[in-house]
Symmetry: C2
Subunit: 341 residues, 2 copies
């Protein structure tokens, strides 16, 4: 029996709970995983803790009805995130609070407290992993627990597991990827004709771009993911500020046309490579050959090519966002922890 506490019950936290609930029987039959959600703490939606396990269907119903879980019958109410992480009887803490790429908070503190309390941590939160992976990994090792973060890059598409386990034994010399769906959607649609500003507006209407889009279109989101991949898979010690960055805001229709004429495509490419003992990285628009698997990656899809010593290039292509996708990504991390128990 694995007991799980979820910090942050927005899209990620609630979709993870939904997947856990809907797949309960399959998880037991196929993997022997029995799992209870014992605590949820969300700064806006409220908090509830029951060491015997919460009724997930009821929690989801409450959120749907009122966007609050305070009305849950039974359990201990009102434990804040730090108390929940410290005091709930969870074996695993799922940290799904909001992302902050400058301070990593509040996720960073949640994760450190959870690791110190000898609880495994699964997070979808880019901030803490981009800012402090080497430190968090050390803290996890010291406490004999795992920190897993599949959903920080390409949501549930198993990119981190591919790099760490699938390619175990290889030297990963670098990678190139399309790690931001918003910018790829915009670039794909500019190819069909249309100016950057119009397509951005359309993307915002469709929910593919945020009202404040700079984190995506200026490349910062992709930089965070690049740092996570480089530090976890290539053993780098990059900081966010070390990554050269250029967004897509200056790409004009004439650039798209010029690329087409050369038989190429413009993509926002996250790129890392070894330079002697160092790892360097940048995020910038690049001309991609049509024979490159990255060229065929359109819309909000993401893709990543690892360059390895043993296999040469290995590419994975999949969804880069979405609630149910991320919920499944967290579940895959939970199953990895379960396998190792």
């Amino acid at each position: 029996m694995i007991r799980v506490a979820v910090i942050g019950f927005g899209t990620v936290g609630s979709n993870f709970a939904r997947v856990l609930h809907e797949k309960r029987k399959m998880l037991k039959d196929r993997y022997g995983l029995e799992c209870e959600l014992v605590a949820v703490s969300d700064i806006n939606r409220g908090a509830v803790y029951d060491p015997e396990g919460l009724d997930i269907a009821e929690l989801l119903r409450l959120v749907k009805e009122s966007n609050k879980i305070d009305g849950y019958k039974g359990g201990v109410k009102g434990m804040d995130s730090i108390r929940t992480v410290r005091e709930a009887n969870a074996d695993v803490v799922v940290e799904a609070a909001w992302t902050n790429l400058e301070t990593g908070e509040p996720g960073l503190t949640h994760i450190k407290e959870a690791l110190r309390a000898k609880r495994h941590v699964i997070t979808s939160n880019k901030g803490p992993i981009a800012l402090a992976y080497p430190e968090l990994k050390r803290l996890a090792d010291e406490n004999g627990v795992q920190i897993r973060f599949e959903c920080t890059v390409m949501s549930g598409t198993p990119t981190i597991m591919l790099g760490m386990d699938g390619l175990a034994g290889h030297i990963v010399n670098g990678f190139r990827g399309i790690l931001n769906g918003t910018t790829n959607y915009i670039l794909t649609n500019m190819e069909k004709g249309g100016a950057y500003a119009d397509i951005l507006k359309e993307a915002q209407k469709l929910g593919y771009a945020e009202v404040e889009p700079s984190g995506d279109v200026e490349g910062l989101d992709a930089v965070g993911k690049t740092v996570i991949l480089a530090n976890s898979i290539m053993g780098a010690k990059l900081r966010v500020a070390d990554v050269e960055r250029e967004g897509i805001t200056k790409i004009a229709p004439k650039d798209i046309e010029a690329a087409k004429k050369q038989g190429k495509r413009i993509k926002l490419i996250a790129h890392a490579w070894r330079d002697g003992a160092k790892v360097k990285a940048k995020v910038s628009p690049e001309l991609v050959e049509l024979t490159d698997p990255l060229a065929s990656v359109t819309g909000t899809t993401n893709a990543l090519t690892f360059d390895t010593d043993g296999l040469g290039p290995v590419t994975i292509i999949g969804k880069g966002a979405g609630g149910i996708e991320t919920g499944h990504g967290i579940l895959s991390d939970l199953l990895a922890i379960h396998r190792s128990m």
Copy 2:
């Protein structure tokens, strides 16, 4: 310390030994893996066993010099494969004998004997896994050991691990893939102009096609891989004969041209899908849209798209053959066993 015996010291077995030897320090530093090769048994090259560990560099030198290992100084000579599997003090048996898709032998017997002796098994041998995976998995479970077979599909590209661990928690509803490099090389070159027979001849000269090419061009190799994927990842119980099969021998330049005119490409596609409680599969030439990630897979490269309930399509693209690639694939299985110890 993990002790390994290798059955079959051809391309796969010797390349695995080479990787183990060349990466010894990295494997210890990064993964804490210490490993000795204690036995090698090959029906043509000879056999040697030393419970304390063999000198890999010396074995590789002997093979290079004489294609025999009988001249190795020290150790017990002449133990056949069955005795080696039963009697050597190995924790892990790497089964890398030749593939036979009709009987699975001699690999099938090697694997069963190894599992019964409570040794983990890693194999690159399609025959036994295509013919008997459910039985072998049960035997492994009964004996508390693992059977791993990453290299049976797409050589070292971590396809099996992606499907089993990376996509753990998903329901895999089906897959479509390019699983045979020889046929993809021929089709790619037919697009550049040229008739099937001429390009086959060229591929044979380059070593991309066998002298007796029917296993590849008639689709049987891809069928074996399809059965392995369906049975291990989709829980199917397919036999080789259940898979509808059509090769590429009848593809003419006019077919290639007709596809081009429709903005498509002809690929030999391995395809599996659920039909009620059953899994069905076929291998046949298909017209693939250029927007499909499989369309951009050219030459000897392989690719596979899993269709999942949680993420939709997830595609992996990588090398499908090669000695050093397969050597690394076996190493990745060894590291997976090491992680679980």
